[in-house]
């Protein structure tokens, strides 16, 4: 383990894990992406195959054991990197979300549990500028890290086997998008007609960690209309 004032480095399969210190925040998330871009562009390392990011951690995968730098060499290389004083403007995506009960099985449970009306819930959930914290655990899942503190609920005790494509969930301090139909343990409170993951394209997603997301509430008929067009 290598620890400095800004990061900690640990061993991982075929590579290294760099963890930024401090609490999760939008600025740490943007810093993580800056460091990722630098790692992929710099000529200080050989054989970086992929960099996989968490909210504020980077898993640097190398194509061969011999290319994994020792901590001394890594620390020296990282000294030539510094975070931007004024980070580049991030992209903003608008996601249309339908909060109709027929599309979101858990909305009634959630509003009852929180003791608020559906209207109030929609207002609180859709009036915030979110930032994308990370992508994963499954193909196309989008984590957004700054849910209104009034909407915080623990995730379901048992995941359900099939959450439909486009479902919007909440769990803890996060809200997220199930881009593909998959098992899931978050409370499903909305559905978007947009598709965020396309296995037929490179890259399969346009949205990336650090980006901003604005939610635009839509009616059920608008949802169906957009769904038909796309």
């Amino acid at each position: 383990v290598l620890t400095t004032s800004t990061y900690t480095v640990k061993a991982m399969p075929n590579g290294l894990l760099i963890e930024l210190r401090g609490h999760i925040s939008k600025s740490n998330c943007i810093k993580t992406q800056e460091l990722k871009d630098w790692l992929l562009q710099t000529n200080k390392f050989t054989g970086i195959e992929e960099v996989i990011c968490g909210y504020q951690s980077l898993y640097v995968v190398f194509d061969d054991f011999s290319h994994i730098p020792d901590y001394g060499k890594l620390e020296e290389a990282l000294q030539s990197f510094s975070f931007a004083a004024n980070p580049e403007k991030v992209s903003t995506h608008t996601i249309a979300v339908c909060y109709d009960s027929t599309l979101c099985p858990d909305l009634d449970y959630v509003t009852t549990k929180l003791g608020i009306t559906k209207k109030k819930f929609i207002k609180l959930h859709s009036s915030r500028v979110y930032y994308v914290g990370m992508l994963g655990f499954l193909p196309g899942f989008i984590y957004m890290g700054n849910l209104d503190e009034f909407l915080v609920l623990p995730r379901k005790a048992t995941p359900v086997p099939c959450v439909p494509e486009g479902s919007i969930g909440i769990a803890g301090e996060q809200t997220g998008v199930y881009s593909l139909s998959s098992p899931g343990g978050w409370h499903i409170i909305g559905r978007t007609p947009h598709r965020f993951f396309d296995a037929g394209h490179y890259p399969p997603m346009d949205i990336k960690a650090g980006d901003e997301v604005i939610i635009e509430p839509i009616s059920l008929s608008e949802f169906k209309q957009i769904k038909v067009m796309s």
Binding site: I52, Y59, L135, F137, P204
Partner: protein
């Protein structure tokens, strides 16, 4: 192009190659053949590329009817192989003539058997790989599935390579471990070497699960989800362990107490529910 028609699909059979590179940043698992050693032998014996797509069978074998001549090779877990009723051996090239039917029986001494075909299976490529993953809209192998292959009669009789395989490979019980990012939550790491470790029936291509071994560990507050990878050993709050396999999720929120290497993953890929394994911490000099 030849077509192998699936007459019997087996318990869980799928096409797998060396996996998807560079898509884990979008949440796409790396995937690929679980026992890479066995899968590569099948390709080597036919003179294929190491990364060519093979058919991975789990617990029980498939039956296939081939439309054109080709050669195939089976490796991995021991099983009965019949070509039009004639017994064939693992780890050698089998020449198949048009219209012949290959039947693979129940898998013994291991749970994964691989079947390579000359030139590799020519099934659908998604995100740069033919490895089946249930969320990527790929066709699952079932009865009547058609698996395409290149038919090249001219090259059938070249390359008579046979490999004498060390049988103890599949009986290997020792899984080497390296300290993971949250290694420090373990209060007594040597317990992992001493307590009996039994493979759970809940194991699959995503994870090998090890039911509740009571390790002494620090209570963990909810961890921020962070990247994981095949080989990572996660400790769950209920005391069970999980070694992530090749279809594993890309991020996880449980302490990553250890990780094993490719060889450890290959050994685990062949372990059936109820079998006992032994974890061994790697000597510090062998680290990485």
């Amino acid at each position: 192009m030849g077509i192998a028609t699936v007459l019997k699909a087996g318990i869980f059979s799928s096409i797998q190659d060396s996996g998807r590179r560079k898509y884990r940043q979008y949440g796409v698992p790396i995937g690929g053949y679980l026992d890479s050693e066995s899968a590569k032998y099948a390709n080597i014996i036919l003179g294929n590329q190491l990364h060519d797509a093979v058919l991975e069978m789990s617990y029980s074998g498939v039956s296939l009817k081939f439309s054109e001549s080709t050669s195939i090779c089976l490796t991995g877990a021991d099983c009965d192989i019949l070509l039009d009723g004639q017994a064939c051996a693992l780890y050698q090239k089998i020449i198949v003539m048009p219209g012949q039917t290959l039947e693979v029986g129940v898998l013994r001494s291991g749970i994964r058997t691989y079947m390579a075909v000359l030139g590799g299976w020519q099934t659908q490529t998604v995100l740069g790989s033919k490895s089946y993953h249930p969320l990527l809209g790929m066709e699952k192998i079932q009865r009547e599935s058609k698996l395409a292959y290149i038919s090249n009669a001219a090259s059938l009789f070249q390359n008579q390579l046979k490999i004498a395989i060390k049988k103890h490979w599949l009986q290997q019980e020792n899984i080497e471990l390296f300290p993971g990012p949250e290694y420090e939550v373990l209060l007594n790491p040597s317990e992992l070497e001493e307590l009996p470790v039994i493979i759970s029936p809940n194991s699959n291509r995503m994870a090998t699960v090890i039911d509740q071994i009571k390790l002494e560990a620090l209570e963990q507050e909810a961890m921020i989800s962070s990247p994981v990878a095949p080989g990572i050993v996660q400790l769950y709050p209920n005391g069970s362990l999980c070694v992530l396999m090749r279809d594993s999720q890309t991020v996880g929120g449980y302490p990553r107490i250890a990780y094993t290497n490719e060889q450890g993953l290959n050994f685990l890929a062949q372990k059936r529910a109820g079998e006992r394994i032994h974890f061994r911490w790697a000597k510090p000099s062998a680290s990485k």
